[in-house]
């Protein structure tokens, strides 16, 4: 069979390894075989290809050292930075928050986990304790890993020696330049060279190719030159409307911490592409980010209207129903996910909780059992923690105590479990023990208000008014409108005034 045909066929069947091997053979004989060179480059790129749109990982360094946002303290609802100041979101006492102080979402995606830490130490320590593997910078981390992994598989050195490439030669050959660019961008992760190639090529085609403008924008975005990226994306949009370009442009604004502008971009996109689910999801995510859950759910619903197998939308709506006290409806959404073939711990865990709160007790434990079977070590703690909740719900304190303990055995840093253990100890009147639990919970989960408040109550009872005052203030910083904390604070102030 003709080797080119075969290689092409391998490529189309996504058997990239075979394809590369075949290309290697031909290229060894004749290194100037363009068709094989092209195919090999594409195959290598496809192996490591990640869609740039859904790919947003802010590294520790960016998070800590970059100041892309214009407004330090924006008006509530206009910034991702301080979501809790927005009114209209659910109360943290009903819907728990993540570390960033944002209500728990139904879908874990990059960039939703972290709030901006205050110091370098905090920033570095957080990824160790929490279950996030935040890369050092977005330029290192996964990008570098992708770039280097492929080199190992080639014993006779890299396929293309980037340093020795004459980029301006490739710039004038449109058939090769695109594939070379993608190779440099995705496989080699050499953004600088990719940028140079893109710049040369746009010039060669007299700035008339929108595709190259988008690629330039992607490079600038990766390099952190957001304003340049914005310019390129806008100029590309002037030439032709593309869903991708809208998404990229919105990403730039998200990075600049300008949710309203990002929404504007999405809405413009929707005018051109009505019902495009990626754009609608983008809008919903932004509303979720600025804590406007009502609008977020509205948009998730319209996503489902256009694409009824959208996992993210289903999960988010389900979570929202669950936390707005409608576990039966949430259950239906989760079951839909199950029908669609999602089969993992998290889902069963959620199903179990829904069943419990919807009073379908027969299913509850079955679901949790399934969840425990599927759980890996990292996920085990949350399942046990939730089981503890179920036990609390049926009033079986001993089982609850054991569940929380088990949760701690699989993850020694589970702040919520510590807090709940503290409450249980308090009930048993083991004040010293409870105090220790609250303290460790507070130190591990600085975003939670519960341990602070609990500690404050305990301290107030034991007469340690000063610690009580300090803790209640901490509780109020993470949850400003917590009534009990406010009452406690005014009570303490009265005490102090009396003194």
């Amino acid at each position: 069979m003709d080797p080119l045909f075969l290689a092409n066929s391998y490529f189309r069947r996504r058997r990239f390894d075979d394809c590369v091997e075949l290309c290697n053979k031909v290229l060894q004989k004749n290194p100037y075989e363009q068709a094989f060179w092209y195919l090999k480059a594409r195959a290598l790129t496809e192996q490591v290809y990640v869609d740039e749109v859904d790919y947003d990982e802010e590294g520790i360094a960016e998070m800590l050292m970059d100041d892309n946002a214009i407004a330090k303290v924006a008006r509530p609802g206009t910034s991702f930075n301080k979501p809790t100041t927005s009114s209209g979101g659910p109360s943290p006492s009903v819907r728990p928050t993540t570390q960033s102080g944002r209500p728990l979402s139904g879908f874990l995606r990059p960039g939703t986990q972290g709030g901006r830490p205050g110091t370098m130490e905090q920033a570095i320590r957080t990824p160790r304790t929490a279950h996030t593997a935040r890369p050092v910078t977005s330029a290192s981390g996964r990008y570098v890993r992708l770039g280097t992994a492929s080199m190992l598989s080639q014993p006779d050195g890299p396929f293309i020696n980037v340093a020795r490439l004459n980029l301006s030669k490739y710039a004038s050959r449109p058939n090769l330049s695109k594939v070379l660019f993608e190779y440099l961008f995705h496989h080699e992760n050499d953004i600088r060279s990719a940028l140079e190639l893109a710049a040369l090529t746009t010039e060669a085609c007299q700035f008339k190719d929108w595709w190259w403008k988008v690629q330039l924008g992607k490079c600038y975005y990766r390099l952190g030159l957001l304003r340049e990226a914005e310019k390129q994306f806008k100029s590309a949009l002037n030439m032709i409307d593309m869903v991708d370009t809208f998404l990229y442009l919105a990403k730039v604004y998200v990075r600049l911490d300008q949710p309203q502008k990002a929404l504007e971009v999405f809405n413009k996109g929707i005018e051109v592409f009505p019902g495009e689910s990626t754009l609608l999801t983008g809008i919903a995510r932004i509303y979720e980010g600025i804590n406007d859950l009502t609008s977020a759910v509205k948009y998730y619903k319209s996503v489902l209207h256009h694409d009824n197998t959208h996992v993210e939308a289903i999960a988010c709506i389900a979570t929202n129903h669950f936390y707005s006290d409608q576990p039966e409806i949430a259950l239906r959404f989760f079951r839909r996910l199950l029908q669609m073939g999602v089969y993992n711990t998290q889902l069963f865990n959620n199903l179990g909780l829904c069943c419990f709160y919807a009073q379908q007790y027969d299913m509850t434990l079955n679901c949790f059992e399934r969840a425990l079977q599927l759980a890996s070590d990292e996920e085990m703690d949350d399942v046990w923690y939730n089981l503890g909740h179920v036990a609390l719900g049926i009033g079986d304190m001993t089982v609850a105590y054991q569940c929380f303990k088990l949760s701690l055995t699989s993850n020694n840093n589970h702040a919520e479990s510590y807090n709940n253990l503290g409450v249980l100890e308090l009930r048993k009147a083991n004040n010293e023990q409870a105090r220790a639990f609250f303290q460790s919970a507070a130190s591990l989960g600085s975003h939670m208000y519960e341990p602070h408040y609990n500690f404050s109550v305990l301290a107030e009872k034991s007469g340690d008014l000063h610690s009580s005052y300090v803790s209640v203030n901490k509780a109020l910083t993470s949850f400003t409108d917590h009534i009990e904390s406010r009452n406690l604070l005014s009570q303490l102030k009265e005490h102090f005034a009396a003194l």
């Binding site: 214009i70 050092v136 300008q258 949710p259 502008k261």
Partner: protein, 718 residues
Amino acid sequence: MIVPIFTLRFNHKIFAGLTTVGLYDGKHPCLTCATTAGKILVHNPHARFNEGGRISAGTESDVHLLNIGQQITALTAGALNSNVNKDFLVAGTQTSILAYDVDQNADLFYKDVADGVNVAVVGQLGQIDCPIAVVGGNCSIQGFDYEGNDLFWTVTGDNVRAMALCDFTRDNEQELIVGSDDYDIRVFKKDELVSEMTETEAVTCLCPMSGSKFGYSLANGTVGVYDKTTRYWRIKSKNQVVSIFNYDLDGDGVVELITGWSNGKVDARNDRTGEVMFKDNFPSSIAGIIKADYRMDGQQELICCSINGEVRGYLPMEQSGGTTAPTTEKDVFRELSLKKQNLLTELKNYEKNVKAHKLPVGLEKSEIDGTPVGLIPANTQLLVTLDVSPGDANIQPHIVLHISTSNDTILRAIIIFAEGIFKGESHVVHPSPQNVSNKLDVRIFPQKDGVVDLHIKALVGYKSSVQFHTFEMTRQIPRFTLYIVAPDDTPEPKSSVVFHITERINRVVMWINQNFLLQKEIEAEDELNVKLICLRENTPLFVNMEPNQNGKITIKTDNMDLAGDIIQGLTTFLGIEDLQVTADFPDYLGYLRSVLEKVDEYHSTSEKLTAEMADHSNLIRSLIVRAEDARIMGDMLNMKRGYMELNTVNRDLISQYSIRCNNHTELLSNLKIVNQTIQKAGRLRVGKSKTQVIAACRAAIKSNNISSLFKIIKAGSS
């Protein structure tokens, strides 16, 4: 004297000239200032946390910072989008302009501006429908609407320093007044240059006053008011003017000019006379003056900020009918008594004079009634002539001002007051007692062509006189002074401008005789042929007119500026409103070509350098995090290694930065040359043709079409 009605203190420095006030939510005024580290301070005392119910404590909680990340060079706020009733913040840096919606935390637009942003104003300009943000950079002025579309573009002679919108022509449309580094104030009606005024220093601030009046200030500490092209008054101080503003401080319905000085003084001056009406002092230099209804009580306050973050607000002086009348009366009385005093002194002098004449001849005339007087013959006259001297190896070419008396009286001293040709505007010649005579020569070195009025004051008397008579006279130096008739063998300049006018030759000859300082008047019958040499650059200038060929005039000179000046002067004199010319400047265009090539080169280098720097800074960031990680883990060896590496990368980055800086300054200076060339090409034409040329040049540069640019400069259209 009035006391401030409120004072605030920010713990931030405020940059001079970078303050504004905006209603970012459409209701509440917010004081906005540029502060250090590329940040903008927004003080919003009114609308904070209405939702959260939090009570603000002190000024600090009302202040929030916006991070621009680059040094801010211009700051203004205005209702840029007429569909929305709120103000937007416009911040300029050396490379870009950002229009920002403070309320929504969203960009309106962000644009790269290669010429930099030195000053920005927002408002309605001429007949453009929507409000635009006008941005002045190096030699260029750009206008953007709220979507960032480029609606307006023109060039000026030098870097723009100040801009203001004012109804200059009184036609209910705003004109743009532009002050630049080449001492000129230009007025643009849309992109057409309406009038031009030359000042004595770089123009630093401009502000509109009532009607067609506007205030201005110069880099040498001058501040004054113009009404259209006439100057009402001006005063000069040794301090620098930081900011000027219009505000009706005495409540009489006419705005005063408020000036903020670098020594912390704030004063208000009457717009007609320049009389100081109010003064206040700050401990540090003033940073900006604005007005706003800052207490939300319906009254506009005058707000002054100092660079140390102190803010004071003033209300107009209380004015009731009872207090005004006596002050006016008193003023009139004082004025009249001063007049009387002067008249009495004058009368006394005349009486003395009469007495002196009555005395017998031969008697010592120096003393009458025990007081010395310096009497001189009544027919004494002062003679003033101007002459051009080519200079020599040591002395530059200059104008010689010969001053002499008509008899044996001597010139004790001469004071010449003229704008722009002397350092500090005036020049005093005071020869030592041995050298006094009835003749004095003054050398004048004009730096550029232009009409200058010399106000000469001469002290005339006898050698032994103690008192002297003052002779005052005014002389005008014509526009083109340092030119002499060229010898016959002067080579012909390569470049030329050719145009046709329908005018008699005598009128052109008359203009030349009026505007050139030549020893002999030029005469011409049917063909004009003047050959001159410019002494300043030693370049020839040939002017040729052939009335037989449709009034064809050829100006041959290699200096494009000079050709432009001559054409502008001649057409104003002849009242020509539209003139198209054919210009051929081969040398200059060759130079322009090389400049354009360089601009391209610098652009591509800067792109590459930016990418490299971004890459490096990524590396630095990851190194910092790794080193810190090692520190927290107690792994000192790795930490040390990390920081060592960081040090080398950092050094690289700094050296790269200096390369980039150089690259940028070179790029800027080259862009400036390009803009100036367009301006010069415009000056060769008059009226509509001029506007067309500038617009066509802009289009050619935008589309990177160099050959068409050259064609436009040559022929006026592509």
